[in-house]
């Protein structure tokens, strides 16, 4: 498989504060890679350098294909209140002829199950629906790489599960290459084909892990899968380097499993 994104010795310094301390990794075409790291370790900075919003202090980012899309954590602010949902999805497609724009927006809205809300304003929708609009907009753009910065951090648990499954489905159906930043270990294991674990600031790569789970995933069975639990513990331990030993992780995992089955069955 070819590499969609190559990051080589990427470093970024704000003033004299080193946020990223030299990262090297690749993302292959069609892959979904999760980046996990402690809060404030420079994950957003990494995404901003990859997306070209800031120029890195050192190192290289090379993207195959000309354009990428970003789903920002602050989805509410990234949608334009003066445009309808459909207008928002068409926003990046202005260079296309009108009919094609329409068609692409309608298609993307269907993927995320929002066809009925096309004429509404984004602020008339719930948080989860707004995030789906942002995802539809990114997908309609047909990006070579889709970047997501903690995309589901500010929605409730139920919506979060739905959105995670939505992401897995659309990226499988459309063969999208995705890089997701998250601070949620479970989410990274559930979503990812691969997980990049970052250290505390200045962020360095601690581990690059393959996720040994089948492509088809399910909120209940996958999360109770042996491999899932084992990998989750491993990532948790990696994130705790230098901190407390990860004795509680197994216990916490069991508790999680229980609360999860409650959420799903209710």
């Amino acid at each position: 498989m070819s590499n969609m994104l190559e990051v080589a010795d990427l470093g970024h310094t704000y003033g004299d504060y080193e946020a990223i301390g030299g990262l090297t990794f690749t993302v292959r075409a069609g892959e979904l890679v999760c980046v996990v790291g402690p809060s404030g370790c420079g994950k957003s900075t990494l995404l901003r350098t990859i997306s070209g919003l800031i120029a890195p202090s050192r190192g290289d980012v090379s993207l195959k294909g000309s354009h990428l899309a970003v789903v920002f954590q602050d989805y509410q602010r990234s949608l334009f209140p003066w445009l309808t949902v459909q207008g928002n999805v068409e926003f990046p497609l202005r260079s296309l002829p009108r009919a094609e724009r329409r068609a692409r927006a309608a298609e993307a809205l269907e993927w995320v199950g929002l066809s009925a809300a096309a004429k509404k304003r984004p602020w008339q929708l719930s948080g989860g629906m707004q995030q789906r609009v942002a995802i539809a907009r990114a997908l309609a753009f047909r990006p070579a790489l889709l970047l997501m910065d903690e995309p589901f951090a500010s929605v409730d648990a139920q919506t979060r599960f739905e959105l995670e499954d939505l992401l897995l489905r659309v990226r499988r159906e459309h063969d999208t290459t995705v890089l997701v930043v998250t601070h949620d270990i479970d989410e990274s294991v559930y979503l990812g084909d691969r997980i990049l674990v970052l250290s505390k600031s200045p962020a360095k790569l601690v581990a690059d892990l393959e996720v040994p789970l089948p492509a088809e995933r399910d909120q209940v069975t996958t999360r109770t899968d042996e491999a899932f639990v084992a990998l989750r513990s491993r990532v948790a331990r990696l994130l705790n380097v230098g901190g407390k030993p990860a004795v509680d992780v197994e216990k916490w995992a069991a508790a999680e499993r229980e609360s999860l089955s409650e959420t799903v069955s209710s």
């Binding site: 997306s51 070209g52 919003l53 354009h67 990428l68 899309a69 970003v70 920002f72 602050d74 509410q76 602010r77 990234s78 334009f80 209140p81 003066w82 445009l83 926003f91 990046p92 202005r94 260079s95 304003r121 602020w123 753009f141």
Partner: protein
């Protein structure tokens, strides 16, 4: 219906009080409203050429002056608002120009344009451009960073950035500026007609006052009030339509 009454009772009450006192006092400076209405009727309805010669030219001056100022103000404001460099250079100049009371420039424009419509337009434009310009600068600056980032990531063309993002984001502020400018336009329209011209509502006011025809003078003043109220109402209606997209919840109101 209730609201309508609430709004207008004080107004109607004042007119009644004025009518009673006007009739009792018989002071030529303060004629009762009924006399004023009669004067207005005689002046404008029985002599319709007064409308075409004075009222319509005044309104057209006011509106064209305001429109010119608005177009220049919005265009310049968007430019200055999105460029720190430009604002650094132009900022002090703007503050200085804005501090000049526009009526003080009437003699200058009088010399420059030898009176007439262009001098009146210049006075109005110079006087009313500031609220539009400064509000637009303010609005254009306040485009929220996530929207700026979103636009950058999608590499939208420049015209879409200006017309599709900055302009709508700034539009609530722009409309606030337009409203202030519109009422200022009325003021400056009158001031610019007080000298160097013999047509327009302002000049008619002066003439009535010189001829001691105070009822007519009052009729002119009332006409100006009605005009200001009407224009503001129309602009408010336009604004309500143009800004209908604004969320009605408290959060994200000015995003």
């Amino acid at each position: 219906m209730n609201k309508f009454f609430q709004r207008w009772t004080v107004f109607a009450g004042l007119i009644v009080v004025w009518q009673v006192f006007g009739m009792l006092a018989e002071d030529p400076f303060f004629p009762p409203p009924s006399d004023i209405v009669t004067a207005a009727w005689e002046w404008w309805v029985l002599e319709p050429e007064n409308v075409t010669e004075h009222i319509l030219p005044s309104i057209s001056r006011l509106l064209s002056g305001w429109a010119i100022a608005s177009v220049i103000g919005v265009a310049l404001g968007l430019l200055l608002g999105r460029s720190d460099r430009a604002m650094e250079y132009a900022g002090p100049l703007l503050v200085f120009l804005r501090s000049i009371p526009p009526p003080a420039l009437v003699p200058v424009f009088l010399l420059l344009f030898k009176g007439g419509t262009s001098m009146q337009l210049a006075t109005i434009v110079f006087g009313v451009i500031w609220p539009v310009l400064l509000n637009t600068v303010d609005g254009a600056r306040s485009v929220d960073v996530t929207k700026v980032d979103t636009s950058a990531v999608f590499q939208i063309p420049r015209y879409q950035w200006v017309l599709g993002v900055v302009l709508p984001a700034a539009s609530p502020k722009i409309f606030a500026g337009l409203r202030v400018s519109l009422s200022l336009s009325l003021v400056l329209m009158v001031i610019s007609e007080l000298v160097g011209t013999d047509n327009g509502i302002g000049s008619q006011l002066m003439q009535a006052q010189r001829e001691f025809d105070y009822t007519r003078m009052w009729a002119g003043i009332v006409l100006l009030g009605v005009l200001g109220y009407g224009l503001n109402t129309v602009l408010l209606a336009v604004e309500r339509r143009a800004l209908a997209w604004q969320p009605r919840s408290r959060d994200e109101q000015h995003a």
